[in-house]
């Protein structure tokens, strides 16, 4: 079972306060901590788990600046065998379909049974790279996968539906599966383990190396464009309670009593 896993480096915005850059088309990245996209961590863990069970190899691919080597090394620690970085200035501004096109150019010459991606990235959140990639490769796919079992020449996968429901489908291999969080528990990657793989070779390819032209990628290759970013308007008038713990607690108790609690 040869597996390709596509990973993305994103700013950790869940716990951070976000500010918009002056050109209103990007966020300010200084001060933000970057990490592997959350779903992708589960995808990498799943790929390595499948390799352990069925044999084969795992190759991790990341698109971005030189900095994406951080997350490729995390992949090595988890158990990926090889890492490939796709870096070119021209890739900037690519939308989901264009990113899929770049990945496709690389992957079409590789041997694999399964491609795993995260279901959705926490930065742009398009959630389309996996299925667009499958379409370009002419293979099948399943999204929001929360369980995988490999059968003869096919995979039986569980897809997450709304309201706690699941859908079970059988899908012929090779296929693309987009992995949802919660499918496993990604292992902790320590600094010490990362140091051990610091020298491991990462293959680097650029636009030319992929045999692509500038107009096929980036903003010029994309059919959608971000016009401007803005902070979401508040939908509700909120009362800010005091941040002093004692005063805050008094107010919360009062609200609780008013709403019929604590009787």
């Amino acid at each position: 079972m040869d597996i390709i896993v596509c990973v993305k480096r994103v700013p950790d915005t869940a716990g951070a306060t976000i500010e918009i850059a002056d050109d209103a088309r990007r966020i300010r990245e200084d001060g933000l901590v970057f990490d592997m996209n959350d779903c992708d961590k589960y995808a990498v863990e799943e790929a390595v788990g499948l390799k352990k069970k069925y044999g084969g190899s795992v190759t991790a691919i990341a698109l971005g600046t030189e900095d994406v080597e951080d997350i490729l090394r995390m992949c090595f620690v988890t158990g990926c065998d090889e890492g490939i970085r796709l870096t070119d200035k021209a890739f900037q501004g690519s939308d989901a379909v264009t990113i899929a096109r770049i990945l496709h150019r690389l992957i079409q010459s590789m041997k694999f049974d399964l491609i795993l991606t995260g279901a959705q990235a926490t930065d742009d959140g398009y959630g389309q790279v996996g299925s667009a990639l499958a379409e370009l490769m002419g293979i099948s796919h399943a999204t929001l996968v929360i369980g995988i079992e490999i059968l003869d020449g096919k995979a039986r996968v569980h897809r997450e539906l709304e309201g706690g429901m699941e859908e079970v489908v059988e899908i012929r291999l090779p296929a693309v599966l987009t992995i949802q969080t919660g499918i496993n528990i990604p292992r902790y990657v320590s600094i010490r383990a990362l140091m051990k793989v610091a020298q491991k070779e990462i293959k680097v390819l650029d636009l030319k190396g992929l045999g692509m032209r500038e107009e096929e990628v980036g903003e010029s290759g994309s059919n959608t464009s971000i016009e401007r970013l803005f902070l979401p308007p508040l939908t509700k008038e909120m009362e800010i309670l005091p941040s002093d713990p004692g005063e805050a607690a008094t107010r919360v108790v009062k609200i609780l009593k008013d709403k019929g609690g604590l009787v």
């Binding site: 976000i18 279901a119 399943a142 709304e162 401007r228 509700k236």
Partner: protein, 320 residues
């Protein structure tokens, strides 16, 4: 703008809310642009659904075939592609749901996903979507294509609206190819757990801000003192710190308590959209956390400073 397609989402014989939401938004765009609103209904034994839809669309195109019985991305995508190339809609709306995510990216058309608003600006379509875990909105424009796909976030647009008169139902006979790659096996219903958070009046809900599994007990204690039920957001379930039955959100449960205390929950849309009614008190140290956008009361402070004090205060009260 010419024709607007809305792909009808239904499961187990019932039309899903996202369908009505898209039809309302689709109608608004059609009215503004003088276009026509067309509902696409794919399935098997669905004629009763077509009757319901025809009140809300100018035209309902129905493709009925046994192979369309259960949603199957592979086959739905092929039928949808055929209909798009034949009818050439300017815009196709699909839900940003488990159903829609499975096929939207396969249509080889310019696409933007998970949109929270759509409008026409000088005749050109603009979409608004969220980025960075809901902390930033982005305005998206489309570049030079005759047909676009937009997936729409559920629970954003109203599902109820004016009936717009009776349209026409058209049954199409399309040759449906055999399914080669993907086979539907079954649905699995959520397991019945030991608590039912959907029936609680007071929910004390914990999110990623709690940091460590061992800290959950602190929130459980607070919940008990408040006479509430312990709930959580998705990351807590992903980490297996609490069982899925306690998860509030699109992939978990929809709740309607009288009081919802959100502790260390940043407020992803999938979470906050499923708290229906009641008062929300949020504790989070990020003043721009999306949870504060829906909360009635906010405490902008580290939860580890607030929760212990609140807990001892409640203990004092209980002790009389």
């Amino acid at each position: 703008m010419g024709r607007i397609f809305v792909l009808i989402e239904h499961r187990k014989g019932a039309i899903r809310d996202i369908t009505w939401e898209m039809l309302i938004k689709g109608r608004e765009l059609a009215l503004r642009s003088g276009g026509e609103l067309t509902a696409l209904l794919l399935g098997y034994q669905i004629r009763n659904l077509a009757e319901k839809l025809v009140q809300r669309a100018d035209e309902v195109l129905v493709v009925e075939d046994e192979k369309l019985s259960n949603f199957n991305g592979e086959i739905y995508q092929r039928v949808l592609s055929k209909l798009i190339s034949e009818y050439k809609p300017a815009l196709t709306l699909i839900g940003h749901t488990s159903f829609g995510m499975e096929l939207a990216g396969q249509l080889e058309l310019p696409i933007t996903t998970d949109c929270i608003d759509l409008c026409l600006e000088n005749g050109a379509l603009k979409a608004v979507r969220q980025m960075y875990t809901g902390k930033v909105n982005a305005e998206i424009s489309f570049i030079g294509a005759p047909s676009y796909i937009v997936t729409v976030r559920p629970d954003v647009f109203p599902a109820e609206g004016q009936q717009t008169g009776r349209g026409e139902i058209k049954y199409l006979s399309l040759p449906i190819e055999e399914i080669k790659y993907k086979k539907f096996i079954e649905y699995i219903e959520p397991a019945v757990g030991e608590v039912d958070i959907t029936r609680a009046d007071i929910l004390v809900s914990v999110g990623q801000g709690i940091g460590d599994k061992k800290n959950i007990s602190m929130i459980a204690e607070l919940s008990e003192l408040m006479g509430g039920v312990l709930a959580c957001s998705r990351p807590i379930v992903d980490k297996k710190w609490l069982p899925k039955e306690r998860q509030v959100g699109l992939s978990g449960k929809t709740v309607k308590p009288k009081l919802y205390l959100a502790i260390g929950i940043s407020g992803a849309f999938q979470h906050i959209s499923q708290i229906k009614g009641g008062h929300i008190i949020a504790i989070n140290k990020d003043p721009r956390a999306p949870i504060f956008g829906v909360a009635d009361y906010g405490i902008v402070e580290d939860l580890f400073k607030i929760v212990p004090v609140l807990t001892s205060k409640l203990k004092e009260i209980k002790a009389g």
